[in-house]
């Protein structure tokens, strides 16, 4: 009886302390997360300062760099400044209609480094848009694969998911890759969910024949939410880009693929 009495007397005290502790924990979590968020957006706005889109104007190219015969949104990119920020930056990707407007990086030794490291080298999300060492930095491989997280806040490659909408797919068809040498333009021909197979290691595209088989298999994929344009006559002499991001399913990836227009006859 005595024990019971004691415990009921103590109950309000315990409840009070618990409440205080819980409140304190909540405060700490809120402060930490908002600090992280502020840091993150600072990083991004700083970067955006290096690049600003101005009026669209046909790009004047040197004869060495093949042109794409497409109007290119001009960006004032200062690659030497970008290199000072991070020497692994080698290109800039911009997709009108999405929020994809980021530097492209490649780590000299560790392929997975930028999966969870930011532009300033700090560990954590959102990471960077990056390619792996199996790809060169000159966009002349049969398939250049760029990775980016499917961030819940819509950053990095999250807005690529808009390409699952046929109306959006039909209206937003170009990917622009700015480099020091010039600008590469890709016309998007496919957006679909696919297995998480490693596209460069798991699929053999080392010969024109194998590459043609692969392209054929992509164009034949059947899925209700897939958008695939068969009309571009893509063949093994083409060069493609694949943008890969996550889906809600661990073993599935959402891919957006474009064919390089520079030097391509249409």
């Amino acid at each position: 009886m005595g024990k019971n009495y004691k415990s009921t007397k103590r109950a309000p005290l315990i409840a009070g302390v618990t409440l205080c502790v819980a409140g304190l924990i909540c405060c700490i979590i809120f402060m930490v997360t908002s600090y992280k968020k502020a840091n993150l957006s600072n990083d991004m706005t700083n970067l955006q300062n290096y690049a600003s889109v101005s009026a669209s104007e046909p790009q004047s190219e040197t004869s060495i760099f093949p042109t794409a015969n497409v109007d290119i949104p001009e960006k004032n990119l200062n690659f030497s400044e970008l290199h000072k920020t991070n020497p692994d930056i080698y290109a800039w990707i911009y997709i009108p209609g999405t929020s994809v407007d980021y530097p492209v990086l490649q780590h000299p030794t560790d392929d997975t480094f930028y999966l969870e490291h930011n532009i300033d080298g700090s560990a954590g999300l959102p990471g960077c848009i990056y390619s792996e060492l199996l790809n060169g930095k000159s966009f002349d491989d049969r398939n250049t694969v760029l990775y980016g997280h499917n961030m819940r806040n819509g950053s990095m490659f999250a807005t690529l998911h808009r390409y699952a909408d046929k109306d959006f797919f039909d209206a937003n068809r170009y990917i622009y890759i700015y480099t020091e040498k010039g600008t590469y333009v890709y016309e998007i021909f496919a957006a679909y969910t696919y297995s998480d197979i490693h596209l460069l290691k798991g699929l053999d595209i080392t010969s024109d024949e194998k590459f043609a088989d692969y392209l054929e298999s992509v164009l034949a994929i059947r899925g209700m939410g897939n958008n695939i344009d068969n009309s571009l006559n893509i063949n093994s002499s083409d060069r493609i880009i694949t943008l890969s991001t996550c889906t809600s399913n661990d073993t599935r990836r959402f891919l957006v693929q474009g064919v390089l227009l520079n030097g391509r006859e249409r």
Binding site: H161, R162, A164, K166, C246
Partner: protein
């Protein structure tokens, strides 16, 4: 989440059942009292404790059976729906501190735009593939990787709890689609475009044969989930047919085969092999004779379902009976608990002649065999109609 819902549903159902049971004994007592108005009633009252004991025992047995049955069908239900879990996008397991606001990407995973409107997969729908295999015997083990037999009949049966309907989609067996091929020893060879019916031939076990067909059909239908499959050797049709006392149809065509004669427009109750030949026969010399056969199969199916429903309503134990009758002729990945759920639900659903549709398309003569090319536009529209629901 889903499991939790199921459990609460189960509890509610159980409570309802118990209330029903409670009422029953009272009613029977009342009626007994009404009929026995003589002095015997007094004696009965003295015996009441014994009756009470027996009633309690019966009550307990009934409750146990009902609880067991409910658990069985609810487990079956959960198992079935788990199979399409991946088709329904889960919330992203996100990659960002949880305090971050969710940006409006403007598009949800799994949405499909069709004619300007947005649709999503209807996760309430249950889809089953029913295959009629061209083997005239009981099921037996395969002797090699090419021995599975072809699927002459290919049907998708779709249960939709939203409008409580059953729909059947007949798929032309000559439908040209991607199928996985295997060699004699059962090793994967390649994926090639061929007649759908061939998919079932490949594989070293009956389960592999069946799954190869499931994969081919799901791919043909743009990746819709298939919750279960039954492959029935044609010979099983006879016993199934006879178990419900034969099926009455008005013959759609005139033909003779294996000593059985059919006359167009003539009414007949098909029994035993007569039923088998009615849905199996086709004039192999005639181009596109499969169309003629498919309309007979469709008509037969319709009549069969109507008669089976009536027979099962009269005698519910017929479901188990049919299952047992079919077992020697059938391969399935539908377990007994799943079958019980399907049986108990589908019985109340509507099934009308216009609930049977087939894939539109065109049959052309290939080098050796006929090839059916589906009208992709029409197929896509059919999938939206049957398996999807409008978001906005």
């Amino acid at each position: 989440m889903e499991e939790k819902d199921n459990n609460t549903n189960e509890l509610e159902e159980l409570k309802l059942e118990e209330i029903d049971i409670n009422e029953d004994p009272d009613e029977s007592d009342d009626s007994q009292n009404l009929t026995d108005k003589n002095s015997a009633a007094a004696r009965k009252k003295r015996k009441f404790p014994i009756w009470a004991r027996i009633l309690t025992a019966i009550f307990l047995i009934v409750v146990t059976v009902i609880i067991g049955w409910n658990i069985l069908i609810n487990v079956g239900k959960a198992n079935l729906y788990a199979k399409s879990k991946d088709a329904v996008p889960q919330l992203p397991m996100e990659l960002m501190d949880s305090a971050a606001d969710v940006a409006d990407v403007g598009w949800e995973e799994g949405w499909v735009r069709y004619n300007g409107k947005i649709y999503r997969y209807n996760k309430d729908v249950l889809t089953f593939l029913v295959l009629g295999i061209d083997k005239d015997e009981r099921i037996s083990d395969n002797t090699n990787g090419l021995d599975g037999g072809q699927s002459d009949g290919n049907f998708l049966v779709v249960l939709n709890p939203d409008d409580e309907s059953v729909r059947v989609i007949c798929i032309n067996r000559d439908c040209m689609t991607d199928i996985d091929t295997y060699d004699y020893f059962g090793n994967y060879d390649t994926t090639t475009k061929a007649q759908l019916e061939l998919a079932h031939a490949y594989g070293t076990t009956r389960e592999q044969n069946m799954q190869n067909s499931v994969k081919a059909v799901s791919n043909l239908f743009y990746g819709i989930p298939i919750h279960g499959c039954v492959a029935i050797n044609m010979a099983g049709i006879t016993s199934l047919n006879d178990a419900i006392g034969g099926v009455e149809v008005e013959s759609l065509s005139t033909f003779s085969t294996d000593g059985f004669d059919y006359h167009e427009g003539e009414n007949a109750v098909l029994k035993g092999e007569a039923a088998y030949h009615y849905i199996h026969y086709r004039d192999e010399d005639e181009f596109n004779s499969n169309d003629d056969r498919m309309s007979r199969q469709r008509q037969y199916l319709n009549a069969f379902v109507a008669q089976a429903k009536a027979a099962i309503k009269k005698n519910p134990s017929l479901i188990a009976n049919l299952y047992t009758k079919l077992t020697p002729y059938m391969t399935t990945d539908i377990s007994i608990d799943e079958a019980s759920y399907i049986g108990s639900t589908a019985l109340g659903y509507s099934f009308s002649d216009n609930a049977i549709s087939s894939i539109e398309g065109e049959t052309v003569q290939g080098t050796y065999y006929e090839e059916f090319y589906p009208d992709e536009e029409a197929l896509y529209q059919l999938i939206i109609e049957v398996f999807y629901e409008e978001v906005r």
